[in-house]
């Protein structure tokens, strides 16, 4: 048998069975797209940062520092809430980023599930924004609780917004737990995408439920008196949105790139694994042939 032969003419007499043996150790028809010995050049040498993330990171730090200075030093305390009002430079922006994270996660998941737009990119974006969303969600609950203690006298109240945020937090913690289960990446991406889309579909139901429920117990009258903000307070609050928005983008981008690197790493692993698997066949074949004496 010619070890170089990749294909042989169809065996006409045998009911049209064409024979295409893959010779041991000769490549065969399958050629790995990426050779295991030559990994593709990483787009961001030395990690996940490049010029874009550096600019994002530096501007996050600058705007955050500016917000802190304006919020803690320049702006005056509130007449009613006193120093507590300074949380308005943190809590609303953090909560918005939490919802942005979950919303982005759901949209990316929807794009992944839609067959025409299916791409690993959407899955990576969903993973990145879901994770960053959970971080901001926990921050939202903590800052909300800190704000609530002096205002309401309790750390926790069944305020509808707080309740729904806690529910979303629990749902997305489940989502992250699912994402960690591993296995076939495409199957996992589909499962996770379904979870993200369905739980965001439920947000209106959750909202109605928690609002009606809270209204039964008149917690809404306890709801924090929103301070009147104006002038420098308003600018500071807007700046906090810019700072946290930049920080959000910065984190998501880094997290996205980690996903890209992980994908690339496992793809390299796949090609190496295929070569190994075929080599293992080559050894066995030689042994089989020697013992069985099968001739073609």
């Amino acid at each position: 048998m010619n070890p170089k032969a990749d294909t042989q003419p169809a065996d006409a007499a045998g009911g049209g069975v064409s024979v295409s043996p893959v010779s041991p150790g000769v490549g065969g028809a399958y050629e790995p797209e990426v050779s295991p010995t030559v990994p593709p050049a990483p787009a961001w040498p030395g990690g996940t940062s490049d010029r874009v993330t550096r600019i994002l990171g530096v501007s996050t730090l600058v705007t955050a520092a500016l917000t802190a200075w304006l919020g803690l030093v320049v702006t005056p305390p509130d007449k009613v809430q006193g120093q507590l009002v300074r949380l308005i430079y943190v809590h609303p922006a953090v909560a918005t980023m939490c919802y942005a994270g979950f919303g982005l996660c759901a949209l990316a998941s929807l794009a992944y599930l839609w067959p025409r737009t299916r791409s690993r990119r959407w899955d990576r974006l969903a993973a990145a924004s879901g994770e960053v969303g959970v971080v901001f969600c926990v921050l939202t609950l903590v800052t909300g609780s800190i704000w609530g203690r002096p205002t309401w006298g309790v750390w926790w109240t069944w305020d509808p917004r707080l309740t729904i945020t806690a529910l979303l937090c629990a749902v997305f913690i489940g989502y992250l737990a699912l994402r960690r289960t591993g296995g076939d990446p495409d199957a996992l991406a589909k499962r996770s995408a379904i979870v993200a889309v369905v739980c965001v579909l439920l947000v209106p139901v959750d909202h109605e439920a928690t609002t009606w429920w809270a209204s039964l117990h008149q917690t809404s009258t306890l709801f924090r008196a929103n301070p009147l903000i104006h002038g420098e307070q308003l600018y500071t609050m807007l700046l906090s949105f810019v700072a946290f928005g930049l920080g959000f983008a910065w984190l998501v981008l880094h997290r996205y790139r980690v996903e890209v690197l992980e994908d690339r790493y496992s793809e390299e692993g796949f090609d190496a694994a295929i070569s190994e698997r075929r080599a293992e066949g080559g050894v066995l074949t030689a042994a089989n042939r020697a013992s069985d004496g099968v001739a073609l």
């Binding site: 629990a170 913690i173 699912l178 589909k190 979870v195 369905v198 579909l201 439920a209 039964l216």
Partner: protein
């Protein structure tokens, strides 16, 4: 015209598959009696434990009866869903279900129907339990029954969907409650409020039927999402 005919055909095939799967699941339950010998005693035990936890305070128990009833149902529904997937996991049954070419939406609806039937039986039993143990009176039986129906379909549909998502994973037993419990929170809220209205234990101003509409919208969302998602979930390998 032809499109309508085809849609009707697919619709009929869908329900045929759903009934086939649900009757198979129920037959297995009937034969193995896991629901009646394990899940039902568990559910009643949960009610008894509530009695211990509330320190025999009959007023408190009567007031909380609706909520306790639905917590017990929720916990039992987790077991029912896990059982529903355990019977598919034995000896390659999941593969043969995939090989059979059944409509995935039919599989979803069928497994949901079977769990709904089990939950309704459990709810009757637990209903007796709360009447006997917590001393409650039934004011509006129609609302009670309709709430049970809507909430059971919602719980079963959500459970079967997340059960399929967790199916085949090594960590499915621990992951499943984490996935299901936060999303069924509105069912617990809605069903409890509707029951409180129907039992007359609610404060003034609770409109039970309004809460029922919330349960129905939850259920519709999960039936639709599950039917669509199952074709994706069954096909992944």
């Amino acid at each position: 015209m032809l499109g309508m005919l085809l849609a009707r055909r697919r619709w009929n095939a869908l329900w045929r598959d759903a009934l086939l799967v649900s009757s198979k699941d129920l037959r297995i339950e009937f034969r193995s009696r896991v629901t009646t010998t394990q899940v039902a005693p568990y559910a009643v035990l949960v009610l008894v434990l509530f009695g211990f936890a509330f320190d025999q305070d009959q007023n408190l128990l009567t007031k909380a009866a609706a909520g306790l009833f639905w917590v017990a149902v929720l916990l039992s529904s987790l077991l029912a869903v896990q059982r529903s997937y355990a019977i598919e996991a034995t000896d390659g049954a999941r593969d043969s279900l995939r090989l059979s070419g059944l409509d995935p939406a039919g599989i979803f609806l069928g497994k949901t129907l079977a769990v709904v039937a089990e939950l309704l039986i459990l709810e009757v039993l637990l209903g007796f339990g709360v009447v006997v143990l917590f001393g409650i009176q039934l004011h509006d039986p129609a609302l009670l029954v309709v709430t049970c129906l809507a909430a059971s379909v919602g719980l079963a549909a959500a459970g079967i969907l997340y059960g399929m998502i967790a199916a085949g994973l090594r960590v499915r037993e621990t992951l499943l409650p984490l996935l299901i419990l936060p999303v069924v929170a509105p069912v617990l809220l809605g069903a409890t409020q509707a029951w409180m209205a129907a039992l007359g234990t609610a404060g003034g101003g609770t409109d039970g039927w309004r809460w029922l509409s919330l349960l129905v919208s939850f259920t519709v969302i999960y039936i639709a999402a599950g039917s669509l998602a199952f074709s994706i979930l069954v096909e992944e390998s």
